[in-house]
């Protein structure tokens, strides 16, 4: 069993050109920005990075590009989720051959298979590689497909490389049931907060966190994570409240708000690929105004350089 701990994982966005191709010059800046601003690992490419809008070849090319760019400075986790088990399996193998440190996989897109087949899906992906396997649980994004505690515990038992659960369900009882049971036999098994609600997850055992808002407010993300890792959860309340304010603001304007906020922060990475719309000019102006009104955003880097390097 691997003891690889992802720590504070940044989940970068994917920049696109005007012709909707991946803008690799920008992507290089994005990756360097994350490394410079507190990423202990990178997850390539999660849903906020529009993994679902990328072709299989593009996802593979991203792995290669990022691994070369990072050049061993920090670990890279490869997100390989897909609808078809064999597609996800092949992507996982590719990521392993490219040098990824770990594999991340969620439930299949679109289909609503019986529980046994969902387990089979995870099982095939995990067994396809020797890398640590992290199961990403995000039922709200995945049409409400739920995993039961028993189902996950069984997978932990069966899959030697099953190293952790990335939880975006925010379901406290589920998280506790998994982690408290698994720790009896696999004390290295990890709980990762799948988004920036780190206080509650940390209090019940999460030791790592995956953050997509690190592209907008990396300093706040780092502060929140760092306080939580010292187990001083009450002291993390202010950072958690600020984080929530940012999350609620972006949620209000929809998915495209992430890239719109990046423009507002001086890091233009283009607009999302269809079927996601971009914000209208009016919406963008309103979002930018509300974003800058959040006082803690003054501490965040504008443009690509760190505040201290300006």
């Amino acid at each position: 069993m691997s003891t690889f701990t992802p720590g504070l994982v940044h989940a970068p966005i994917t920049p696109f050109n005007q012709d909707r191709k991946i803008d690799y010059a920008k992507f290089e800046q994005v990756i360097e920005f994350h490394i410079k601003h507190g990423a202990q690992s990178l997850a390539i490419t999660m849903h906020p990075g529009e993994s679902v809008s990328l072709t299989d070849l593009e996802q593979r090319a991203q792995f290669d590009f990022v691994l070369k760019q990072v050049n061993g400075r920090i670990p890279v986790l490869a997100h390989v989720s897909d609808s078809g088990t064999s597609i996800a399996v092949a992507r996982a193998k590719y990521a392993e051959a490219s040098g990824a440190e770990a594999i991340i996989c969620t439930t299949p897109y679109y289909w609503t298979p019986p529980a046994a087949m969902i387990s089979e899906h995870f099982s095939q992906v995990a067994k396809a590689v020797k890398l640590p396997f992290f199961l990403f649980y995000t039922p709200d994004e995945m049409g409400g497909i739920k995993l039961s505690t028993d189902q996950v515990l069984k997978l932990v038992e069966q899959l030697g490389n099953f190293s952790g659960l990335i939880d975006a369900s925010l379901d406290w009882q589920f998280m506790i049931n998994i982690i408290s049971n698994v720790w009896r036999t696999k004390p290295d098994f990890q709980l990762l907060a799948g988004n920036e609600y780190m206080v509650s997850s940390g209090a019940i055992g999460a030791t790592s966190m995956i953050s997509s808002l690190s592209s907008i407010a990396p300093n706040l993300v780092k502060e929140l994570y760092t306080i939580c890792r010292t187990e001083r959860y009450s002291e993390a309340r202010k950072a958690q409240e600020d984080m929530a304010a940012l999350m609620f603001l972006l949620k209000k304007y929809g998915f495209a708000s992430l890239k719109s906020a990046l423009v507002a922060m001086g890091r233009d990475c283009g607009i999302p690929r269809p079927p996601q719309n971009q914000l209208t000019q009016t919406e963008h102006a309103a979002l930018a105004k509300e974003l800058m009104a959040l006082s803690f955003m003054n501490n965040e880097p504008k443009g690509w350089q760190s505040l201290h390097n300006l």
């Binding site: 406290w172 009882q173 206080v199 509650s200 959860y233 409240e241 999350m247």
Partner: protein
């Protein structure tokens, strides 16, 4: 008495005789037990108290016993939620008449009310009597019907007697949505967790919780709250894990298993009214085994 919500508050189960009729003498003993073992408030009848399986006159009779038995030692609130809103209003007025300290009310059942309808409901409750109101958010049991940040803001701007919320979504995003909206309007607004989910919520400003397992293990409940407030995260996690195992044990056909467990703890409170099942001898034996494994039998009070 002033309503201070803090710590682990107990919502007793409802003792019934073997023929399912109300067992008021045992209810008195149970109330006393809770107050003596550290309850910071009493609130009855939550769903755990089989509220919806009791008639309105029965609910009034139990509520009177609660206020009389607790006798001002801790605050008593009465849960007034009923299928018919008209009944809720009547129960709220009755609570005031008998000297309760507050009422607690969930969003209306069955009709999937709109945010406007929920707003109107709480306004009407507040105008029907003078007691402080504790709102109750429980989306997972009410098909997603829940408070939004906007609704709580609107309510707090217009309903001065709304002082607290039992927030039972068990979800950090929802908790923060409500607490951020509420505390902006009313900095002294209290948010109380459902069950004993204290480790994940006290750091976010939660003042305490209503208890699920308090009739079984009051010591464990108090220890968890203490660990959370003094910031002992390692201890809090250990105790929270234990209480999570108890919640799994008891939440199935809630509160049947809880009542079954109380037999094991030497505090029998009778059967559970249909359509909920009563814990069988086999189920009780299973619960006994679990309680023993968790060390509850050695560390918690036996008998009354």
């Amino acid at each position: 008495m002033p309503l201070i919500l803090k710590g682990v508050m107990q919502s007793p189960v409802t003792p019934l005789k073997d023929d399912f009729s109300p067992d008021l003498p045992t209810f008195e003993k149970l109330l006393d037990f809770h107050v003596r073992t550290g309850a910071t408030a009493i609130s009855w009848p939550h769903h755990k108290g089989e509220s919806l399986n009791l008639t309105i006159p029965e609910r009034k009779a139990f509520a009177e016993v609660a206020v009389k038995t607790v006798a001002g030692r801790v605050p008593v609130s009465v849960h007034v939620s009923a299928l018919s809103v008209e009944d809720s209003i009547e129960l709220a007025q009755h609570a005031q008449k008998i000297g309760a300290d507050a009422i607690i009310a969930i969003t209306p059942y069955f009709w999937s009310p709109s945010q406007d309808a929920i707003y109107e409901y709480y306004v009407r409750l507040s105008k029907s009597m003078d007691l402080p109101i504790i709102a109750y958010n429980s989306p997972s049991y009410l098909e997603g019907i829940e408070f939004t940040g906007e609704l709580i803001t609107r309510l707090l701007e217009n309903v001065p007697s709304l002082v607290a919320m039992k927030e039972a979504s068990f979800d950090s995003a929802k908790f923060l949505e409500i607490s951020r909206a509420a505390l902006k309007v009313r900095p002294d607004f209290s948010i109380v967790a459902g069950v004993e989910f204290l480790a994940p919520s006290v750091p976010l400003g939660c003042v305490g919780s209503y208890s699920s397992a308090g009739g079984i293990c009051p010591n464990l409940c108090s220890q968890l709250f203490d660990a959370c407030t003094r910031g002992d995260s390692v201890k809090a996690r250990e105790l929270q894990f234990k209480l999570a195992q108890l919640w799994d044990l008891f939440r199935d056909q809630y509160p049947s298993s809880l009542k079954g467990g109380m037999v094991i703890m030497g505090r029998p409170v009778g059967p559970t009214r249909p359509p909920l099942p009563t814990a069988t001898k086999e189920r009780q034996a299973f619960i006994a085994k679990k309680l023993e494994e968790l060390g509850i039998l050695d560390t918690e009070p036996h008998g009354w």
